[in-house]
């Protein structure tokens, strides 16, 4: 579940560590943090709770960054293929940092906070992203502030809005991928209507000192249950969302990863972003391989790194995420296959313990997104 490199680093705790322990969480090291893998109810119950009611996740391990200064958006835009200059105040966008060969250094959320640009990056990439940003910002007069004094909690599920409105009446004004400063339970927070589950929901950035107070209040709501990294992973897999270091990395282009929707038309035309020559070529001529959804016929799951073969037994690709989908009710996976094997209904085998497990290519997501778009 992510690249964990703890050599020489001390393992950190989020501001909600004590609360997790009190709630009986099974704590595991993840990306340098002690994080809850699951709570006593278990991953499947937590997953299904997020799909039916509302689940609360601690995602404080993720990196929160503010960029200050008039040129912040244009400076950031030079490092990603998306339209950031045109991002309206109060809007948020998913994008990727690309390298010179078109690979993905990290994926991130970017919000226009009016007087600043707010970023959320992956925990394991926090330091690398800051170094990368600072390189790009050099000479621009834009300041980078690591918001390490803030926690981040995600409230996800069809009941997320009816719960949050009790504490933040303004939250109903937000549509999917909108962002605003607002009080939640009387605490000044940064709230976006977004998440990593495929469900409606919010991510709430809260000062670290108030994080436990806010979380306890939300957990008191009858619809809300805590959920850990296990459910977060199975929810995002069913939603067909990429996990950096697994489904996307510095060797996969956004086109291969089926993230070409992150590439703005005018940015493609000008080609002024890292790796544009490779990415534009993949867009024009088609990429050599593509990320696909895979549904297994049996009940045995196939995990990350399982080889994908064609029906003749020839290796053609690799599983990048795989496991049991509690809402699907069976094993699911994502992986890369050659473009000529990426059509829906293409039959392949996933090799698990040297045995071929029959699977077929399916459309992503496995479970339809239910974002609040209107």
């Amino acid at each position: 579940m992510g690249r964990v490199d703890l050599v020489g680093d001390k393992i950190e705790r989020t501001p909600l560590y004590q609360l997790h322990v009190e709630l009986g969480a099974k704590m595991v090291p993840f990306a340098g943090y002690q994080m809850p893998l699951q709570f006593p109810q278990g991953i499947i119950a937590e997953h299904l709770h997020a799909r039916s009611k509302a689940a609360l996740f601690d995602v404080s391990h993720m990196g929160q960054i503010a960029l200050h200064g008039g040129g912040a958006r244009s400076a950031l835009e030079r490092q990603v293929p998306s339209d950031i200059v045109g991002l309206a105040p109060g809007s948020m966008r998913y994008t990727v940092f690309t390298n010179d060969s078109g690979g993905i250094l990290d994926d991130l959320m970017v919000a226009n906070g009016g007087d600043h640009v707010f970023l959320v990056v992956n925990a394991a990439r926090k330091k690398a992203d800051c170094d990368h940003l600072l390189n790009g910002l050099a000479g621009s007069g834009v300041g980078l502030e690591e918001l390490s004094n803030r926690a981040l909690v995600a409230l996800q599920g069809p009941k997320a809005a009816v719960v949050l409105v009790r504490h933040a009446p303004e939250c109903t004004r937000l549509r999917f991928m909108r962002f605003a400063d607002m009080d939640v339970a009387g605490i000044a927070c940064k709230v976006s209507r977004s998440g990593y589950t495929g469900e409606d929901g919010f991510e709430i950035s809260v000062p670290a000192a108030r994080a436990e107070d806010l979380t306890r209040r939300l957990l008191q709501e009858p619809e809300v249950a805590p959920a850990g990294l296990g459910a977060r992973d199975s929810l995002r897999l069913e939603a067909g969302l990429c996990l950096h270091g697994h489904d996307i990395d510095d060797t996969t282009t956004p086109v291969e990863a089926r993230l070409r929707w992150t590439i703005a038309k005018h940015r493609r035309a000008k080609g002024e972003f890292p790796g544009a020559h490779v990415i534009v070529r993949h867009m024009a001529g088609g990429p050599p391989r593509l990320r696909v959804g895979l549904r297994l016929e049996g009940r045995a799951p196939a995990r990350e790194h399982a080889p994908i073969t064609n029906l003749d037994g020839r290796p053609i690709g690799i599983v990048t995420s795989g496991g049991y989908g509690p809402s699907v009710g069976g094993p699911i996976a994502m992986g890369y296959v050659p473009a000529d094997h990426a059509a829906v209904d293409t039959r392949v085998n996933l090799m698990v313990r040297n045995k071929p497990l029959p699977a077929k290519v399916v459309r992503l997501p496995f479970i339809a997104h239910r974002y609040h778009k209107s």
């Binding site: 893998l37 699951q38 995990r303 509690p326």
Partner: protein, 125 residues
């Protein structure tokens, strides 16, 4: 249930005559979390003590299950195919994995009894 014996890998075994019933312990299912699939050996296969005989898949990971004693597989728990969650809800009862016709009874005698296993758990947790 008093004559359950245990391995350090958290399998349990119970002897009914010369047939050993094998499964994983409550501690093991607790550590694994929600079980979603169990791969069982073919009936008729002979396994040595300590040999991999089954694989249990939880939501998070796959784990091998080793034969607590050697023998020939005479029956497998078919109900785990449709309801792998029984391993979580009743690990030492309905959640058994395989039945083995035991060849060396002394292999059973070398395993930990309940008191020893409980002490072992206290030590590792």
């Amino acid at each position: 249930m008093s004559d359950l014996r245990f391995t350090k890998d958290h399998e349990w075994v119970r002897l009914d005559g010369d047939v050993a019933v094998v499964g994983i312990t409550d501690y093991a299912q607790e550590q694994l979390g929600d079980v979603v699939f169990v791969e069982l050996p073919a009936v008729g296969k002979t396994v040595a003590q300590g040999e991999e005989t089954a694989v249990v898949e939880s939501v998070k990971a796959a784990s091998e299950v080793y034969a607590a004693v050697g023998g020939e597989v005479v029956e497998i728990n078919e109900s785990l195919g449709a309801e792998p969650g029984i391993v979580n809800s009743d690990p030492t009862g309905a959640g058994w994995f395989v039945k083995l016709k035991v060849t060396k009874r002394d292999e059973f005698d070398t395993l930990m009894d309940k008191a020893t296993y409980d002490a072992y758990l206290a030590e590792i947790s």
